[in-house]
């Protein structure tokens, strides 16, 4: 195989990893949206997937990072992070739901949604990172 076909084959595999991971994450997000109802107009299902997805990406990226104890190939990282986590979480649904709250005159709930979402997403990714760095520092393999 020449270098050119080898690298385009590699790129095709990475695209397939993202497509399949994204599909799995999106189906999981859809199932969560069927299970969790909104609370007084507050879009809980979207908040739930975005918090848990942020936690997982923070945890996984640190655990499989340069100092991590989990060895992961580029393909596996693309599959889990760009694919599963990327497909599972969604910024567009958050934007539309917030816009609809504003449009419906529920201004307080809309701003509450923005504040609670941004803070909890960031805390979740940080906690995931923190937990994985603890695990990375444990003795033994």
């Amino acid at each position: 195989m020449t270098g050119g076909t080898k690298s385009s084959w590699n790129a095709a595999i990475l695209y397939a990893c993202v497509a399949i991971g994204g599909m799995l994450g999106s189906v999981a997000r859809y199932l969560v949206s069927l299970l969790i109802p909104s609370l007084y107009g507050f879009p809980l299902a979207t908040l739930f997937v975005n918090i848990t997805g942020s936690f997982v990406i923070g945890f996984y990226s640190t655990l499989s990072g340069p100092d991590g104890r989990w060895f992961a190939s580029t393909r596996q990282r693309q599959f889990v992070m760009t694919g599963i986590c990327g497909g599972y979480t969604t910024f567009s649904a958050f934007s539309l739901e917030t816009f609809r709250l504003l449009q419906g005159g529920m201004t307080v709930v809309a701003f509450l949604n923005i504040a609670v979402s941004v803070v909890t997403w960031l805390v979740a990714v940080w906690l995931g990172h923190l937990l994985a760095s603890r695990l990375n520092r444990l003795k033994g393999s």
Partner: protein, 135 residues
């Protein structure tokens, strides 16, 4: 009962199809933008999230019209839950914000968070208004 099951299956199929396209589109677009504009600031993800918000504004406005195809379940599940849901992402946004903050780039991290929220909400409103003009 049988009708319910076939509805669930066609709904899942719509999400599967839309999300595979959305994931591939995100990977391509965010990589393309990042290579063009530079990778010191997460422009790729910002572009993906803002453009996805614009599109969801259009589809959200169309869905309010009963004669639009987006007011029926499967096209909505394909286009919004599947494609746009997978095209846009919060997990990368969170991770990039955390990484900027950990690298000591606090003002960039705060700028990224603020810009993402403001641009995406403005993009939804713009999409909504655009769909209104097209009607």
């Amino acid at each position: 009962m049988r009708k319910d099951i076939s509805r669930v299956i066609s709904g899942l199929f719509s999400v599967v199809l839309g999300s595979m396209l959305g994931g591939v589109a995100r990977y391509f677009v965010s990589g393309f933008v990042a290579r063009r504009v530079g990778e010191t600031f997460p422009w790729g993800t910002l572009f993906v999230n803002a453009s996805g918000a614009f599109l969801i504004g259009i589809l959200g406005a169309l869905a309010q019209d009963d004669t639009s195809i987006f007011s029926s379940p499967d096209p909505w599940l394909f286009g919004v839950t599947g494609f746009l849901g997978c095209y846009t992402t919060v997990s990368s946004f969170s991770l990039q914000s955390l990484n900027l903050a950990r690298e000591g780039e606090r003002s960039r991290a705060a700028g990224y968070v603020g810009l993402s929220v403001v641009l995406c909400l403005a993009a939804v409103a713009l999409g909504f208004a655009t769909a209104g003009l097209l009607k």
